[in-house]
């Protein structure tokens, strides 16, 4: 088997490993008060019930005016969490944003909205969460950036030596690549704990405890293991073995490919549907990025050795065309899978994608000049070609660092995708309407243009849930287009929902609930909700 055939087999294996069945996680089965309920008297406690035992991670309660409300530490009773407010709740609307970790270490979160006395018609978003979230986020991005940079240099360098006949590397290149490898390994080892700390919003000292690591390992574990294994294979090749002979090249290629392919098995890189496609795209993307970025440093060294330089560059430039094409294609495919074909420039994920595309476009223009003008010039014996190429490669390395930084931030930013496990529960927008003997509270979550869940809680004149024979929802876009009409699904008596992409544009939408209260009587209630 040639090294390249082995690499292909390894990538395929990575894809198969990651495509295993998704585990079922804990789910909320009910709460007291119920979501959307209006309690006459302030409740003693707020209870969340789950289908399996959970550990509380964070909970914050805020009033409809945005003020934070203090909670005592929750009591855990198997699958139930009981929160006691520090002081009895005053009249008003309340939003509990919670996060728990299930037995398999997977964090889930959600929001519960209820009121004491009467449901207020308007809600102001709660003050943004914990400062720890921002601190951990930056820590994760920085360490992930170091991991990517080290991996691209070391594993990508390994791939380069495996695929391009570049002769033996200089001692300082060997030392540099080995240092990059150790940096990547250290960062990869640290990353699960930091990611877990971000997911569970741990205090800094808790990083030494097991909980954040469990949470982090659950989402990153397998990928980290594959990457570390690859780095272990790569270490002797980069540090000692001759890289112009087949055992060294084979090991460098294998280790480098495994280390890079491992990236596709962790985090949300592989979390989009269809999962196998997302995983294979992420693996190919990492391999191509590694080959391109990893080649730059060794190429700088090769350029100094005239006779070998032209041959190595020719080979590199042939392979690079395919690699860059595949890199762009798989990058676009992944962005498409995560964003569902809709690039929202208001969201951080969309903005990061655009930043990455801009840096990449600059990189590509430099690469095109190298390929079109400088590589042939070098082959033709032009003496100015080598220094100009070296200068271009140095600026490529600079832009590559920018791309790596943006990619690290992308990896820690949840794309806006239904069902993706982001952090920070959405704050729903809600409105209430009342008619003769009927009232409706209509909540839209997350309340941004795109995929939304509309929840309708119907109650009778006395505030009790009102079950109806049929409930439909008309959604009229801002600007007075013909409304869309949808049947609402019954979740429980008096509780109906619609999940879908209907609220596609921002603005004030008019939502009309049509409830069939008896065979011959239909009531309609209309509210206006702002969609961001």
């Amino acid at each position: 088997m040639t090294p390249r055939a082995l690499i292909r087999a390894l990538v395929l294996l990575g894809g198969l490993l990651a495509a295993g069945p998704a585990l079922a996680h804990a789910a909320l089965t009910g709460s007291e008060p119920a979501d959307g309920a209006v309690a006459a008297a302030p409740p003693d406690a707020i209870v969340l019930r789950f289908n399996e035992p959970v550990a509380p991670v964070s909970a914050n309660l805020s009033r409809h005016d945005g003020a934070a409300v203090a909670l005592q530490p929750p009591r855990v009773e198997g699958g139930a969490l009981r929160f006691h407010p520090a002081e009895p709740l005053a009249e008003g609307g309340y939003l509990l944003r919670w996060r728990v970790v299930s037995a398999d270490g997977h964090p889930i979160g959600g929001a519960l909205q209820f009121a004491v006395g009467a449901m207020p018609p308007e809600w102001r978003p709660a003050a943004e969460a914990d400062p720890r979230e921002a601190a951990w986020w930056w820590a994760v991005v920085a360490v992930r950036g170091l991991a990517y940079a080290g991996l691209l240099l070391a594993a990508g360098g390994g791939l380069f030596f495996a695929l391009v006949p570049a002769g033996p590397p200089s001692p300082e290149l060997r030392r540099g690549l080995t240092a990059a490898l150790l940096l990547a390994a250290a960062a990869k080892i640290l990353l699960p704990g930091l990611t877990g700390a971000l997911l569970t919003l741990a205090a800094p000292a808790e990083l030494l405890a097991a909980a954040p690591w469990r949470a982090g390992v659950a989402t990153l574990g397998r990928g980290t293991a594959v990457t570390l294994l690859g780095l272990l294979l790569l270490l002797p090749a980069l540090a000692r073995m001759p890289l112009d002979r087949w055992p060294g090249r084979m090991l460098a290629g294998l280790g480098g490919a495994a280390a890079l392919a491992g990236l596709s098995l962790s985090g949300h890189a592989a979390a989009a549907d269809p999962r196998w496609l997302a995983t294979v795209a992420a693996a190919l993307h990492a391999l191509c990025a590694g080959f391109w970025a990893g080649a730059l440093w060794p190429l700088l060294g090769v350029l100094r050795r005239e006779p070998a330089a032209a041959r190595a560059l020719r080979r590199f430039s042939t392979l690079a065309v395919g690699a860059v094409g595949l890199l762009v294609a798989t990058g676009l495919l992944q962005a498409g899978l995560h964003l569902g074909g809709r690039l929202d420039l208001h969201g951080p994920y969309g903005q990061l994608v655009v930043a990455k595309l801009l840096a990449l476009a600059t990189l590509l223009s430099i690469a095109v000049e190298n390929k079109r003008a400088l590589t042939p010039a070098l082959a033709a014996g032009d003496a100015t070609a080598a220094p100009r190429l070296a200068r271009n490669i140095r600026s490529e390395i600079g832009f590559m660092a920018a791309v790596v930084a943006v990619t690290a931030a992308l990896g820690a930013t949840p794309p806006r995708q239904p069902g993706a496990h982001g952090h920070g529960a959405p704050v729903p927008v809600a409105a209430t309407a009342a008619g003769e003997g009927i009232a409706a509270r209509i909540a839209v979550s997350p309340g941004r243009a795109g995929h939304n869940t509309v929840t309708v809680a119907l109650s009778d004149g006395r505030g009790q849930p009102l079950a109806v024979a049929e409930a439909r929802l008309r959604l009229a876009a801002p600007g007075g287009a013909e409304p869309l009409e949808r049947a609402l699904r019954m979740e429980a008596p008096g509780r109906y929902s619609l999940a879908g992409p209907e609220l596609a544009v921002p603005g004030a939408w008019t939502l009309t609930v049509e409830a069939l209260v008896s065979d011959f009587e239909r009531r309609s209630l209309t509210v206006t909700v702002p969609i961001q």
Binding site: A481, E482, L484, A504, F520, E521
Partner: protein, 169 residues
């Protein structure tokens, strides 16, 4: 980013027009208050092509002495309820009356139309408008002709047929 389904909006606007030609008809649409009338309710189509298998009519308040006309192939069921206000007829006081008529068990193809006929005494309130709310059940799907628009409002999607009471001649 703003890919609003303009085609779908246009199509639904056109579709919303179509049923306006084929609501449930009522004959007569106007009759003198306090008289007894034979009222025909005309079902012009099924539910999106599906044949009609039941027609239920809610008798408006104040309408009394109701009798449905039998219809070959259909069974009739009557629901009675106390009248909101007792009426006197031929020297007798009537406290209870038919509240709902159901014709069931038949089959009216979407390609055909038919009339469901009843006789009723109309209340003594000239100028009033009576809405005959109708539930039309099909093999698949249901039309509920039960919407009554407030004055000045646009016609609802599934309006109940209306009978206007004129002054007695």
């Amino acid at each position: 980013m703003t890919r609003f389904p303009r085609g779908a909006a246009l199509a639904s606007a056109l579709l919303a027009f179509a049923p306006a030609l084929a609501h449930v008809g009522i004959d007569p649409a106007a009759a003198p208050a306090g008289t007894t009338q034979t009222i025909a309710l005309r079902i012009g189509h099924g539910c999106d092509g599906s044949p009609t298998v039941a027609v239920r009519v809610l008798i408006p308040q104040g309408v009394h002495s109701v009798k449905p006309m039998p219809k070959p192939g259909w069974q009739i069921a009557l629901k009675t309820a106390p009248l909101a206000a007792p009426v006197s007829s031929h020297g007798r006081t009537i406290n209870e009356g038919v509240a709902e008529i159901a014709w069931t068990g038949g089959r009216l193809d979407d390609a055909h139309f038919d009339e469901f006929v009843l006789r009723a005494a109309l209340p003594e309130t000239p100028g009033a408008v009576l809405a005959f709310k109708i539930v039309q059940e099909c093999e698949s799907g249901t039309h509920r002709w039960i919407d009554v628009a407030a004055p000045g409002q646009p016609e609802p999607k599934e309006p109940a047929p209306q009978l206007r009471l004129t002054p007695r001649p």
